[in-house]
Symmetry: C2
Subunit: 643 residues, 2 copies
């Protein structure tokens, strides 16, 4: 099959692909990420690129205007390579690769936040050694065995186990054939001095690795949060508990669709499941490689990997068919996944290293939420806590150490910059803060202090909150037609408000918010608020009974609480009760990596947490419809906003 080179500008990256490959796949193959929400179906129109040189084929699409077509714009997903090509990727189509650094910075801030949380809880850290023993998923111990004699001639393996049991109280131990095959020579070549890696494998302890000499000083693990959008990993020294570094990258599965449902659909296509699986495993391997290279850790000293992720992500990671997750009655294959060898899933660490996935409660409340619950210490406190994790799905946990319940609301991807006309993720060029003066003129803060390219979730929240305060938007979400400003206009029969005109922006169009965008965000915030309200009501509680509200998720760290309350996303309570917890899932994943006792707690939480299926609650629809106002139909519920 003929192959062609595709040079992408301005990055200069070159893909070598077969004739007929599509440009979206070509871009990914050389490590270039292009926006795509629909999974390469030609629907979302976000993967616009300009062909500068060479022959190609492209399908007609309404997503490219007549003007754009003349300039050479095509949709990457609908365009196939028929020649050596030169392709320009406009800024708005690029997934900013500096995101990785950005994520690190964010996670660095999170660490700050995390220690801040210590103060809040009166000196008691959320997770502490006092609460959890240090017993990582894999522990290395150095052993000096007495050499065998005629008087003490037990077998090599029994000699090893006997020594381990002298030091540790381990009722059930096992090992694999490969270790037995090497045991005799390792013991003798190392003069009976060996390092054994003990791993927690489901209910038993496994002799995972046997190395000659003393290598117990070197033992590392990686904690992952596998998000639908972002994959983050932290390299941890399992002996010292030190976080060596954190890396994050876009989930490569993005190319197959923005949300879990699109991906589940894609998984049904020919080798769809395999491609989704390889995409996330690639992500994990590059993060592991990057971290171990940077911190000079040999790959084979990484002995344990923990993953937090929603149920679909874990299915895809393990190459388990997720089909039934999206079909009524919405059943996953497994919420509790056995500990396996990381290499079985294709993860490149020590070939015998272990992989554990944090258990989930149900199809729509996965291990990421359990990890978050653990990280926030909800299970350790008397305080009644509400944890809201806002992503494409909004998951909500309510409870304290006595009881816990959860639910999931399909918030939609609006807060993640998808499904809204100028939406983008919270990366460079995103409007993240907005103020509007009495002349209806906005002042925007753009992430990275660059020219604006779009609006991220927290930007939309700020924006709508300001528009609402300035009466630009009505309580029902309609734009006020009576105001005198050039920023409010009608286009293609729909009213919109211009935030940044093209001349001031870093894109080919005005950055606007349309009535349909407002409608989308109203539905998202309504879904989350009403879900929280129903969950609280279900247990005969009121929002005012809550001692604290934790907010987690991708946009969490940029969110203005006042704005979020004023649009009715969060309940109107004393602002001091709210805390950002950022990527609580990654924090929980790390804690579990460092303490298998915490994994046991996570399992207990997952087993005991009551899952409330909102669609079955008769009052949910009423509550949801009431939430489709700014801030709410019942203004009495938002006294500070009313004022």
């Amino acid at each position: 099959m003929e192959k062609f080179k595709v040079k992408f500008k301005p990055s200069g990256k070159i893909a070598e692909v077969k004739k007929g490959a599509d440009l979206l796949a070509a871009a990914v193959s050389c490590g270039l990420f292009i926006n795509s929400s629909c999974g390469g179906e030609g629907v979302c129109g976000r993967c616009k690129v300009v062909i500068k040189k060479g022959k190609f084929r492209t399908e007609p699409t309404g997503r490219i205007s007549h003007e754009e077509r003349k300039k050479g714009y095509v949709l990457a997903c609908l365009t196939t390579v028929e020649d050596n090509l030169e392709v320009f990727v406009p800024r708005e189509s690029r997934l900013d690769l500096t995101k990785v650094k950005d994520e690190e910075a964010r996670l660095h801030r999170l660490k700050g936040m995390y220690s801040e949380a210590v103060d809040i809880d009166k000196g008691k850290p959320i997770i502490s050694e006092e609460i959890f023993t240090h017993s990582p998923i894999s522990t290395k111990i150095y052993l000096e065995l007495p050499p065998p004699t005629l008087d003490d001639s037990v077998s090599d393996y029994e000699r090893l186990v006997r020594k381990i049991k002298e030091k540790y109280d381990i009722p059930m131990m096992q090992t694999g054939l490969r270790n037995l095959r090497r045991l005799g020579s390792v013991l003798r070549h190392s003069d009976w001095k060996v390092t054994v890696t003990l791993g927690k494998r489901n209910e038993t302890t496994e002799v995972v690795i046997i190395e000659p000499g003393d290598s117990s000083g070197e033992n590392y693990g990686v904690a992952f949060d596998i998000g639908t959008t972002t994959v983050s990993g932290q390299l941890i020294n399992l002996n010292t508990k030190e976080i060596l570094g954190t890396k994050a990258t876009y989930n490569k599965q993005i190319i197959f669709g923005d949300d879990v449902i699109t991906r589940i659909v894609f998984a049904k296509e020919e080798s769809g499941l395999e491609r989704l699986h390889h995409a996330v495993i690639d992500n994990m391997n590059s993060i592991i490689r990057a971290l171990t290279t940077e911190y000079s850790v040999p790959l084979n000293q990484v002995t344990g990997v923990i993953c937090a992720g929603n149920t679909t992500m874990i299915h895809l990671l393990l190459r388990v068919d997720p089909t039934h997750i999206r079909r009524e009655p919405y059943v996953s294959t497994a919420n509790f996944v056995p500990v396996i060898r990381a290499s079985e899933a294709g993860i490149k660490v020590h070939p015998r290293g272990l992989l554990a996935c944090i258990p989930g409660v149900s199809t729509y409340v996965g291990g990421d939420i359990i990890a978050g619950t653990v990280a926030c210490g909800i299970n350790n406190e008397d305080k009644l806590t509400l944890l809201i994790d806002v992503g494409t799905n909004g998951e909500i946990v309510l409870g304290n150490k006595e009881w816990m319940a959860c639910c999931s609301a399909s918030a939609g991807p609006a807060f993640e910059g998808s499904g809204v006309s100028c939406g983008m993720r919270a990366i460079k060029g995103a409007v993240e803060r907005v103020e509007i003066n009495s002349k209806f003129e906005p002042k925007v803060k753009v992430k990275g202090d660059e020219k604006a390219m779009g609006i991220c979730g927290s930007g939309y929240i700020d924006l709508i909150s300001c528009m609402f305060k300035r009466d630009i938007v009505k309580r029902d979400g309609k734009i006020n037609r009576d105001l005198k400003t050039k920023r409010i206009r009608q286009k293609d029969g729909e009213y919109e408000y211009v935030i940044v005109f093209k001349k001031d922006a870093c894109c080919d169009y005005d950055i606007v918010i349309k009535e349909s965008d407002i409608e989308n965000i109203k539905r998202s915030k309504g879904a989350i608020y009403s879900a929280a309200a129903i969950l609280v009501k279900k247990f005969d509680l009121k929002f005012s009974d809550l001692d604290r509200i934790y907010i987690a998720g991708g946009f969490g760290t940029f969110l203005d609480i006042d704005s979020a309350i004023s649009i009715g996303l969060l309940p109107d309570l004393d602002r001091s009760k709210f805390k950002f917890v950022g990527n609580s899932s990654l924090i929980g994943s790390r804690e579990i990596l460092l303490s298998y006792d915490t994994m046991k707690k996570a399992e207990e939480i997952a087993r005991k947490m009551t899952y409330i299926e909102l669609s079955k609650d008769p009052s949910y629809m009423d509550e949801y419809v009431s939430s489709l106002f700014f801030p709410h139909t019942d203004l009495e519920k938002f006294p500070s906003v009313k004022k």
Copy 2:
């Protein structure tokens, strides 16, 4: 590399081998077994063949007489293929392949013996359902799961586990990634009706296999006894406990040496361990294939395999280096081997089927002896029992349900027909019974009622016993030079007694017993008797305290107890106390296959049994030297013989 065809006559089998291959290897490659004790070192001289056609190279050897050389005789192990060859294999060099049928017949008799044992124990069978529950290593259960609904939407795996736990009290369960990957579709395609194979995997229960529909009626296992000489396997219906059939074959490792020590040495050669491993796995696979074909059992309905074998055999079976077994302080890699997947060792049954090896006590008392102990029920009885398993090593167990001890004596292979000038295994053509009249003329019974070709172990015992009674052999093992008979003669400076003259035999020479043969057998019987004596004395007991003596091993069923006592192999006790138990190891292996509780008992026995190292006992040497007379230095110990 050039290849040549070697046609072996009279079988007509054709081997295709590379130039330079030796004839012994060529024979094995086409399924033809040629005698060889020394492992192809040119030492034993048992692999004589005649080259009829074609060019070859051969090394000079004193094992081929001048006369034989003229006839074209060579040693197969020292002869390499340089051309297409035609090779005649004389009868005495052939390992009789009818042995397989023969073994079956023997095992059939064993079954009879086994039920005979029921009577002896006052109606209480040695192994019974009363004692052991029926819980095979792998059990199939048919489940009809309630399909998921919105009200009952636990994951597929939890649904399965929940149903299993409704029926069985299983605290710890696990499964593998492969099953999870198939689970969703299997459950739905089978309308939530599935058959699950539950396997005992070390300390946990594993969901080993998940099949659609009800296949619980078909569940089979194979119990093996992996002997140094013979590999026997029984196909068992795990539901009904029925023995479908038994097959036995020569251990293909024979080509690499007759005894474990030769094989351990061979394992150190390049790919030696791999070849030994593949040899026994080939054996097991052919037995499994033959049994499943004959009884129309699909291979993938075989879900469990149990192996009894001495420690070296188990190491080789698992491809674990046995080197250290033969070096002081004689330490094995493992006596307790974890349950693994049979396919990990290369055994072809259901790819997820399990393989368990019965644990051993020490390097020289392996799982075969523990299986024998279980089969004899020593651990269930108050009666003080001595179990003597005579093979190349003689293993002895002493005790009752309160305590047990064991030891191992290196008897040497004389009773198995090796290391004695006309020795052969107990197959067709072997002299197995002998009477000698007052004229010193013998009357022999040949196995298969054919012309004699050699003498097997029980034949030697009978022979020496008669020679001793007729004063042909003295108490010190010397042949009486004063008797007037042409059967006693001197050849090459050594006295010998002719049992069958060439004209009446099926070989090219007179069948004789030399003084050096008598010496060898005296050492073998002395080693076993003195080991038993020391073991009994060690616990302040006398032989007369024993309630029963079980004799196990390859020659057991042909052995004349009176003869064995009169030469001093067995102690002189009431004959009713002796019982043959035949291949007790295979019986025990089957019982363990059918009851994992019995495996737990076997583990307990292996852990608790005291191993006595004879070489460390100061009185062993004295006792051994005293046994080097017929029947013993101290005639008072053998009153019935004295009489």
